[in-house]
Chain length 358, copies 2
């Protein structure tokens, strides 16, 4: 049975990438060893990490004013690390649009001064507050932090706020899913396990001048300069995760780059939301203007039906459709690697399930 | 050509483990997805991480007084993290027996008070200083830190110092290579990429009562309690690294456990050192009593011959024999996964190379 895995992360990787990684798992480029067994200082891995960085730069059109770094600990470690490096005695502004943005805020508030400039928490994070309603970010703020896509609530920014301070975006669940202008940001970071590869690594894209803010006495592994000055090779990096990221970004390039991928992502999301809008059996709590193209959430008429739906879908090869444990309901994560056929199969199943239970 | 990979880390994994991981790479236990693509909260990965922890506890005979945690950032992150959690205003003692122990000391000294109680640095770290020569660790010290095996210099503790404060050991390059009494330690930590699995993760074994020292305001991801209270699942862990560690430790158990592995490790090291001692062409700078069973270092009569040796060995399928970039020369890392046949092939090649160049 063909399985489509709708997990929010770790998530499905492109089938072609999985096949390549499997084929060369025990013998990478006739080295007699798997890539996972090779030294991070050897010529084979050097080519891999250089390709990974070059692919990210090319796909996102990143200028030489920015560093691309691979850092362990996921986005959660970045919540603390960015505040440790960039607060520098100032106050940072945070947009509170979901559980992850709220965690990012809390880490900064624990380390220094942080302020929430807008929040949809009282409305269960069902939308991104309109920019006109946000408290203004003063020119002496350390930065403004946003979460470009909210994996749990299923919301996403369509445009980004314009401010005079560095804009920092957690793009864990929509990086490289659509074209963004990196120059609009001071820093972009993302856990790799949704659109870019496996868990165990964050990709950090950072304007070089921001590193000047880092306090001198930070621990080595918590300073961005440690990664930028050593091309993410100060200590042993997560080599297999970087290798898969190189393969995944090779695949993005083969698909025609991010613009082409965005087009397909829009088509996938439009089809799924179009179906949701056509029926009253499934309802989505997310405001139309804030709908995420990556994580589509919905509910059935009862929690019992939610559970039955997830169970029967799993049996039919449509896996990991259970909503996040915080909010319940159902969620389909349709990242770059999910083909249109997966969305079609999901809609067919939803239609058929409604017929039997509606 | 059969290849034996002597890399110091990332290092070779057991051949059987690599074959299992390859076979189920794209379809883990008939889930239709690779393990690397599955949610860290799903039942498949839950079984994997529980097995990984249980294997570590069983193989090292760890009591319930200790936590076993998986933390990203490698041993280098632990250098800072252990000091942040455990110094608590006190002074920590460090044994300076190699470049990594020196780095561990520096991270602690940057964060608080740290003191070197012995050092073989002036002698290029060619030995572990005798315990009788160490400055005594006072009863009010935060802990005493040692590096049980020094990967670069090729030295190893045969026994461990006895102190009245928690003994903390970086066992990155010899964990599970020999039987140790975990109860003699307050904390043991190890980057996984030598004996236990791929890079991108440290295994931390910590006496539970030590967590009481952690300052309340540490960032979430830098507190040990975050990992112990959430079974290393506060955020998305490096799932594939944990999976491989589970497979590697399954394999250790199938070999008869650590006592049996230690016996083979001793036999491998004895054979290689025995050969080195039988010739003047190859010389090892390491003092006999401090020789590492994991990383065997030697030099040839000239740097040119060092380089030629490494080049020809690589061509003969004996890879990654170049010494660490800091010290040069040659190094064979013979961790648990290296079979006796690899050591035999290395000695045969060394003998033949000496014949042609001696």
């Amino acid at each position: 049975m063909k399985v489509y895995n709708f997990s929010a992360g770790p998530a499905m990787l492109p089938e072609d990438v999985m096949k390549i990684a499997q084929a060369e798992f025990c013998d990478f480029k006739e080295s007699g060893s798997g890539l996972i067994e090779l030294s991070h200082r050897g010529k084979q891995f050097t080519e891999v990490i250089e390709r990974a960085v070059a692919n990210v730069k090319e796909l996102m059109n990143i200028s030489d004013d920015y560093d691309v770094m691979f850092i362990q600990g996921g986005a959660s470690m970045q919540f603390a690390m960015l505040a440790m490096n960039l607060l520098n005695g100032k106050t940072a502004d945070y947009a509170d649009t979901g559980v992850w943005s709220n965690k990012a805020y809390k880490e900064a508030a624990n380390l220094g001064n942080a302020r929430i400039v807008c929040s949809s928490k009282a409305d269960k994070y069902a939308y991104i507050p309109e920019f006109s309603s946000w408290e203004a970010t003063p020119a002496d703020a350390a930065y403004l932090h946003i979460t470009s896509n909210n994996t749990v609530a299923g919301t996403q920014y369509r445009t980004f706020p314009k401010v005079d301070v560095p804009l920092i975006a957690d793009m864990s669940s929509d990086i490289m899913s659509r074209v963004v202008n990196v120059n609009d940001f001071g820093m972009i970071y993302a856990g790799a396990q949704k659109n870019l590869g496996p868990s165990g690594m964050a990709v950090v894209i950072m304007r070089k001048d921001l590193q000047e803010r880092t306090p001198a006495n930070l621990p080595t592994m918590l300073k961005y300069s440690t990664y930028s000055e050593n091309n993410s090779l100060y200590n042993t990096p997560p080599t297999f995760a970087i290798y898969l990221l190189a393969l995944v970004t090779d695949w993005f390039k083969a698909q025609g780059g991010i613009a082409a991928i965005e087009k397909l992502n829009d088509a996938k999301a439009d089809k799924l939301y179009g179906y949701l809008d056509s029926t009253d059996f499934y309802t989505t709590p997310v405001q139309k203007e804030s709908r995420s193209r990556m994580n589509v959430v919905w509910r059935l008429p009862s929690e019992e039906l939610d559970a039955q739906f997830v169970k029967e879908a799993t049996a039919a090869g449509l896996t990991s459709l259970k909503g996040h444990r915080i909010v319940g309901g159902c969620r389909a994560s349709i990242y770059n690697a999910m083909p249109m056929a997966g969305v079609d199969a999901l809609i067919d199943f939803m239609r058929e399930f409604e017929k039997r239970n509606g």
